[in-house]
């Protein structure tokens, strides 16, 4: 059954690139672009045509990344999440990734639905939703930095870092 971890690793990387790539797009590009577009009255181009598509791939690639990661851990899944038996490094990465996935589905997506008008919300609720979605997205950007360190270094290079 060697093909299971091989396919899982491939899927984990592809979906992970899409998830974190879109997270960085939102934070490094779209936030500033939306501010400029709002100022010149062209924000609808982003909020109507770009953001919903980006969010679709963002939230589902997060799910695929997590599931493929869980499959990749295989029988080491519990050891990773309990940070035991030499799995502490990758385990921290797995915990950070899990927190990020929960943030996507529990905070970012429900609030983005209000912001984009996919779910009814008052103006006051939209203002609050904008702040919550923004800060959660920033938290995920912050968490992605140690997550990638522990994911990348916590397994293949754990001897170098002593993890």
């Amino acid at each position: 059954m060697d093909w299971v971890p091989a396919i899982a690793r491939w899927l984990h990387f592809m979906a992970g690139v899409m998830w974190i790539g879109l997270l960085y797009y939102f934070n490094f590009v779209q936030v500033a672009a939306l501010k400029a577009a709002t100022a010149d009255g062209t924000a609808a181009g982003i909020t109507k045509h770009v953001a919903p598509r980006a969010l679709l791939f963002f939230r589902w690639s997060a799910v695929v990344t997590w599931l493929a990661g869980a499959a990749l851990l295989g029988n080491q899944f519990v050891n990773a999440f309990t940070l035991s038996k030499g799995m502490a490094g990758i385990g921290v990465g797995a915990w950070l990734g899990t927190i990020m996935l929960i943030n996507v589905w529990a905070l970012i997506w429900p609030n983005q639905q209000k912001i984009l008008g996919l779910k009814p919300a008052t103006d006051e609720e939209k203002v609050k939703a904008r702040r919550v979605a923004f800060l959660t997205s920033r938290v995920n950007t912050m968490l992605s930095i140690p997550m990638l360190f522990f994911m990348a270094g916590g397994w293949s290079h754990r001897a170098i870092f002593g993890l």
């Binding site: 940070l83 490094g89 920033r138 950007t141 912050m142 968490l143 930095i145 360190f149 002593g162």
Partner: protein
């Protein structure tokens, strides 16, 4: 005090600091 996450580079710096903190915590757990 301003929230560092309001700034993009504040977010990146927080992420790097968090990496160092978690690294030393994990190292101390293991040794």
């Amino acid at each position: 005090m301003k929230n560092p996450l309001d700034s993009l580079w504040g977010t990146v710096i927080c992420g790097v600091l968090l990496t160092a903190i978690l690294y030393f915590i994990v190292k101390s757990i293991l040794t």
